[in-house]
Amino acid sequence: MTNEDIMNWLTRTADVLQEKRSYLTELDSAIGDADHGINMDRGFSAVREKFPAMTSQDIAAKLKTVGTTLVSTVGGASGPLYGTAYLRAGSVAAGKQELSSADVIAMLEAFLGGVIARGKAQVGEKTMIDALTPALTAAKQALSEGATLAEITSRAAAAAEEGAKATIPLVATKGRASYLGERSAGHQDPGATSSWLILRSLAEACEGKQ
């Protein structure tokens, strides 16, 4: 993944989060406080405003800019969670002008690690982690099978989608949805869904990449 591909990823992410703003908010309305789409769009709109200033930055700096921007503009649970995720992803990319498939997977691992470190949640608690964890596993599996970067990221995105959908029957035990207890079952987690959209954008940015 080149610096340009990263930019492509971020642009696609900002686009899809804007497009899915109402959808994510509606998901959050069912089991949360009806702001996840608004939050993510606010954050990535702020990131978008930084695009011009980011052109001269290397991959690590770009990801860190995204992280600090999200922390400074999103608020809510998702701000610190995704903010920390991008900051950690940036650390892994430090000094690299291009990311190999292994680097991308390391970046994903750091991304997920950031969410876990900040939010202290585990798989099955109906959070972002339920999309990011299977995505990382799928990516690693694909790498071990010698897949291309395009395949790795698209299998990661597919696993994230499945993971997000698999949150539907879960009873939340972390975040705001946990207050609903049993009533949280039957609804897809908004954070897991935005995680999937972020990974889908990654896969799109990596289309055709070896």
């Binding site: 309305s29 406080d33 809510g76 649970a77 035990t173 705001r176």
Partner: protein
């Protein structure tokens, strides 16, 4: 969506601009950074007391900034925790050299953002203590949840702790009193109607003409259970009983009884709930030594109420009764 607003994205900033002009004797407002600061902050030698959270709960927290209560408040977007930058800026603005107390309601977003802010303040050499309120008995088991939510007790805590801070007590003592107040208070809320987040444009949930939600929080979310509409007396019973049991209140105890409106319920109904509450407490020989009735921690235009009971002792009496002069709460001077 029927609201007295202009553009949804301008709601918070315009309300802050309004507050600034309405209360120039009490507060100053940094509209860009979204912070409300006590007019005479920082006060040298006094612990700065700040809080923050999503907007839509007015008068909390901005309405509680002023002498004897908060030194600053950081409002986020509607129902969304503010960001660490705001909290850091507020922390710096109220630091009188002896540290700052962060009062944090227990929601993942608030906790995480305040956590990051405390780290940043620490890096700048400002001593910060954080106290998390978690008084909502509707959320039962913290093994299966993000823990009890911080609701009504937050208001009482801000008043009482602000009273102590005014005496220039050290940070540790201020934080300790905050933890004590949190431990001695419990709350529970209910909704007759949902509310509409301006940026979302439609109600947070749907509710039949004969239904209500019991065990709601303050973010327009549905509650623990949906039940048939009941009388004020029955509703009060549903809210008060879990609180009384959880607090282990018994005959002879003295409490502060707080009946809070969620924003869209008229005051006359809150007094009816207060009357029902006093009957229940009376029946158990629990004395209402202090009281508060009104819209203090709200969910936009939601109709409904919450009840908070706080067990009082000599120290809590002293700082509850101490002078306070803020936009929303005033007495004693």
């Amino acid at each position: 969506m029927k609201k007295l607003i202009n553009k949804p994205e301008d709601v918070v900033k315009e309300a802050l601009a309004g507050m600034a002009v309405a209360h120039p004797d009490l507060i100053r407002v940094d509209i860009e950074q979204q912070i409300i600061i006590r007019k005479d902050a920082p006060i040298q030698g006094k612990v700065g007391v700040i809080s923050g959270g999503g907007s839509g709960h007015e008068p909390m927290h901005g309405g509680f900034v002023g002498a004897g209560m908060l030194d600053a408040a950081c409002p986020g977007a509607v129902f969304t925790s503010p960001v660490p930058d705001q909290m850091l800026a507020a922390t710096k603005a109220v630091n009188g050299g002896v540290g700052v107390l962060h009062i944090v309601k227990n929601y993942t977003g608030d906790v995480l953002n305040f956590e990051m802010a405390a780290e940043l303040a620490d890096a700048e050499g400002i001593k910060v203590e954080s106290v998390v309120t978690n008084d909502d008995v509707a959320v039962q088991d913290s093994l299966y949840t993000a823990g009890r939510r911080g609701v009504g007790v937050t208001v009482l805590l801000e008043k009482i702790v602000g009273g102590l801070a005014e005496t220039k007590a050290p940070l540790e003592q201020v934080a300790e009193l905050a933890r004590k107040v949190n431990k001695q208070g419990r709350s529970m809320g209910m909704a007759l109607t949902p509310c509409t987040v301006p940026a979302a444009g439609k109600p947070t949930f749907e509710l039949g003409e004969d239904e209500m939600e019991i065990g709601i929080g303050i973010h327009g979310e549905p509650g623990r259970r949906r039940v048939k509409l009941a009388s004020a007396a029955e509703i009060t019973e549903m809210l008060a009983t879990p609180i009384i049991e959880d607090l282990g209140l018994k005959a002879g105890d003295q409490v502060l009884a707080f009946v809070n409106g969620m924003g869209g319920t008229p005051l006359i109904e809150l007094y009816i709930v207060f009357d029902a509450l006093q009957r229940i407490l009376n029946g158990k020989n629990i004395a209402i030594a202090r009281s508060l009735v009104g819209n203090y921690i709200t969910s936009l235009e939601m109709a409904g109420c919450s009840i908070t009971l706080l067990r009082l002792d000599e120290e809590l009496f002293r700082y509850w009764d101490a002078p306070v002069h803020t936009p929303a709460l005033r007495w004693g001077r």
